[in-house]
Amino acid sequence: MISISSYVIVAAVLFGIGTLGVLISRNIIILFMSLELMLNAASLAIIAFSRELNVIDGHVFVFLILAVAAAEAAVGLAMVITLFRNKETLNIDRFNLMKW
């Protein structure tokens, strides 16, 4: 029997990887993937807790979260397309028109 803490650790590690991905990657697409990873890490934690606590709610929540993630991804990718049209690059650091 794998204990709950193992799931939580896996989720936390995934979350950490996602966070680092956001901080490190310059390519917007990879950055999006990292964001998805963070959301999925949270989903994993919720599912694990749901099983552990024997409360079925968590499963439903994960479906909701998946829907949210899909909406975000759709909007995000649409934005990437407009960005690329405007500037012909997907390097996030190049988008620093506004500062200070």
């Binding site: 959301l39 949270a42 995000g76 200070w100």
Partner: protein, 481 residues
Amino acid sequence: MDLTSASINFSIIYPEISLLIAAALILVSVFHKSANRIAPYIALIGIVVSIAMIFKQWGHQESGFFGMITCDSFGVTFKLIFDVTALLSLLIAHRYMISKGINRPEFYALLLISTMGMMVMANTTDLIVIFLGLEIMSVPLYVMAGFAKRSLWSSEAGIKYFIMGAFASSFLLMGIAFIYGASSTTDLRRIVADFHFIMSNSPAYMLTGMALILVGFGFKIGAVPFHSWVPDVYEGAPTPVTAFFSVGPKAAGIAALLRIFIFGFANVMMLSTVFWVLAVLTMSVGNILALKQNNIKRLLAYSSIAHAGYILVALTVGGNDAISAAIFYLVAYIMFNLGAFAVVTLMETRSGCKSDFSELVGLAKVHPYLAAVLTLFMFALAGFPPTAGFFGKFYIFSAAIKSGYIWLAVIGMLNSFLSVYYYLRVVKTSYFDSSDKSFIPVKYSLSIIIVLVITVIGTLGIGLFPQQFLNWSQSALFAFL
């Protein structure tokens, strides 16, 4: 999920539904060739119907959807706040969108859906529903920020807001997961019921969860250090969208913070310290960074950070006085901040204007009324009597002093002195500066005049009759769940 109260009770979400129907109608009408023209009117009708529904809910205390949606005076008050914000933003936006050639119907649908999301956020005690509401609110906001697709500024604002927003949402969701893990529920009412038990059972999960949730909403209201997106997004987004950003999501964030941290996780010592630090940082950084801005939108962005700081003071203090002061402040802030943005939007509908300070020069000579109105809003933002801004700050700081947070009040007051400098700089530029470039006159439109009249009346009215509004915001706390 509370399956015992087995009713759906649609009547409690009529205001949300009317917004949603209006949004759906607009999206369907896209295929019609005059959609551009009718969309704002559909949105207007939707908001007005929604406001009417809100008045029907006034004073009721119900819940529905198996306890996942509540309807209490606190939530209804916030629904009204969101609707008024949406209404004013809509009126501000209309002429601007036409003049910039981006008057597409979906904008109005997004505005309505986002407003609906805020309502969901404020009218539930369930963390997952709050998260859903937050996402319903945010996803349209990302699109709205980048609505001027051809503009480098707007699309950059959109992507920045999107990345940071999704980043913050993930933290929030992780926080909710931890709370869920510790308490086996996401319903705040049930968490409150066994709070001590849960806290002693799994303190680490609970505290981490709280911290992450705080971060998630701190991001939405622009609290330092989660504020960095604010100036960039405010500057880049189309100005009416900025106006909406500066009040709508902020009010929703405050509503959620109040529900979660004042009602839910009350009396956690560490939290109050964290709030204290956040409040001080937010006020100070917002004001200090505003000092050197030369773009009015960016200046107002930093100023909105500072104002979030003042509201955080009220959240730090807690207690009925402070919370009603916070709601009072929020209403007042909506009035004068939207008013200020209406003026800025009006200025920006002139061709080739980017809201730079130099564009203000000569305003008082060409448009004395507009300059006077702008001055009024700046005075209100700076907190001069007899405007609404003065009493907002007065109530917050006096609540702080009464509860013993002397230093917090002192820092807050010093900050508001500091802020006078940059607000008055706007006034000074529009009245006393001169330049060789001649001032391009602005063209008024009926909708913007309506907004200015409402906001001026609001700013002065609240300032002249503060007690009435304080009583009203106190009544919002009645049966606060």
